[in-house]
């Protein structure tokens, strides 16, 4: 059972850990949340990104929701926009892929080419 006191305690802990999560110049992850995305499990993908980012205490990433990205057959999709404004669209994302994307792209700045929409479509 969760009480309001539990939630307030959790908030205080999260505030302490939180630095400047939404700083300019960081990464932005946009998860497609159209009907196609929702039906394909985009909710779990968004939660997966948030969970992994919090677990690794990554502070320069904003995770947001967007509508249908127009490639319904390739959902769930997430677009990662880097510090330079360059866009990378990852498609048919699964939970294990989230860990890989975070490690390779967000931490080591190496986009995973084989998961990108542009490469999967061709």
């Amino acid at each position: 059972m969760k009480s309001l006191e539990d939630l307030q305690k959790l908030r205080d802990e999260a505030l302490k850990k939180m630095n400047i999560r939404y700083i300019k110049g960081g990464y932005r992850i946009q998860v497609g949340m159209g009907t196609c995305g929702i039906a394909s499990g985009a909710k779990q993908i968004l939660q997966g990104f948030l969970k992994e980012i919090e677990a690794r205490n990554i502070t320069n990433v904003a995770v947001t929701q967007v509508g249908c990205m127009g490639e319904c057959a390739y959902e769930p999709m997430a677009e990662i926009i880097d510090e330079n404004g360059q866009s990378f669209v990852y498609c048919t994302i699964t939970q294990p892929m989230i860990t890989e994307i975070i490690e390779s792209h967000l931490i080591n700045h190496q986009p995973i080419q084989k998961y990108l929409l542009a490469n999967r479509k061709s």
Binding site: R11, M18, R21, M33, A39, K43, C68
Partner: protein
């Protein structure tokens, strides 16, 4: 789509896309029925759009040719022998009224309402969202502005979101009995 919570989450995406400032969702449970009211103050629809809104082959999007959100909730209402009504005025907003017979064999499971509410709550374009679950004399109200005041920017951290999801489900279950 597996459950009602997913359909409801999908419907709120329409309101968000219509640039609604205020979204209000009410679920009222009676002995036989579950009544859904979803109101927004988004851009609304003209008569012609309204007539075609439940067609799966109609959408105002340009990215794809199908629009399934409203047509699927209309389908769920029909399959449970319920009702579906959509009111909308351009520039004023849209009201959706749906009833389901929740004991009907084709009624989908209600699903994770807490998760649905929190996903709407952390959406960057949602400023005001109210969710109410009512049954007999009891009710649970989620008012996003109050929650935002309490949690500030921590609302979108996974641990807070997960704890809030559990808390909301617990409170809704108390009402549902």
């Amino acid at each position: 789509m597996d459950d009602l919570a997913m359909y409801l989450f999908d419907l709120t995406q329409n309101a968000i896309r219509a640039q609604a400032k205020h979204i209000r969702m009410t679920l009222h449970e009676t002995t036989d029925e579950l009544r859904l009211t979803l109101s927004d103050d988004g851009c609304g629809m003209d008569e012609q759009t309204l007539e075609q809104a439940t067609s799966p082959y109609f959408t105002t999007r340009t990215t794809r040719k199908v629009g399934l959100g409203l047509s699927m909730i209309d389908m769920v209402a029909k399959q449970t022998e319920g009702t579906f009504k959509l009111d909308s005025k351009p520039g004023i907003g849209t009201n959706l009224y749906v009833t389901f017979h929740h004991h009907h064999i084709d009624m989908p499971a209600i699903g994770n309402l807490g998760e649905m509410i929190m996903m709407i709550a952390i959406h960057q374009d949602v400023s005001d969202f109210t969710f109410i679950y009512e049954k007999e004399e009891q009710s649970y109200q989620f008012i996003l502005s109050d929650i935002k005041t309490m949690f500030l920017e921590t609302l979108s951290t996974y641990s807070v979101m997960d704890a809030m999801t559990q808390y909301i489900n617990q409170e809704i279950n108390k009402v549902r009995g």
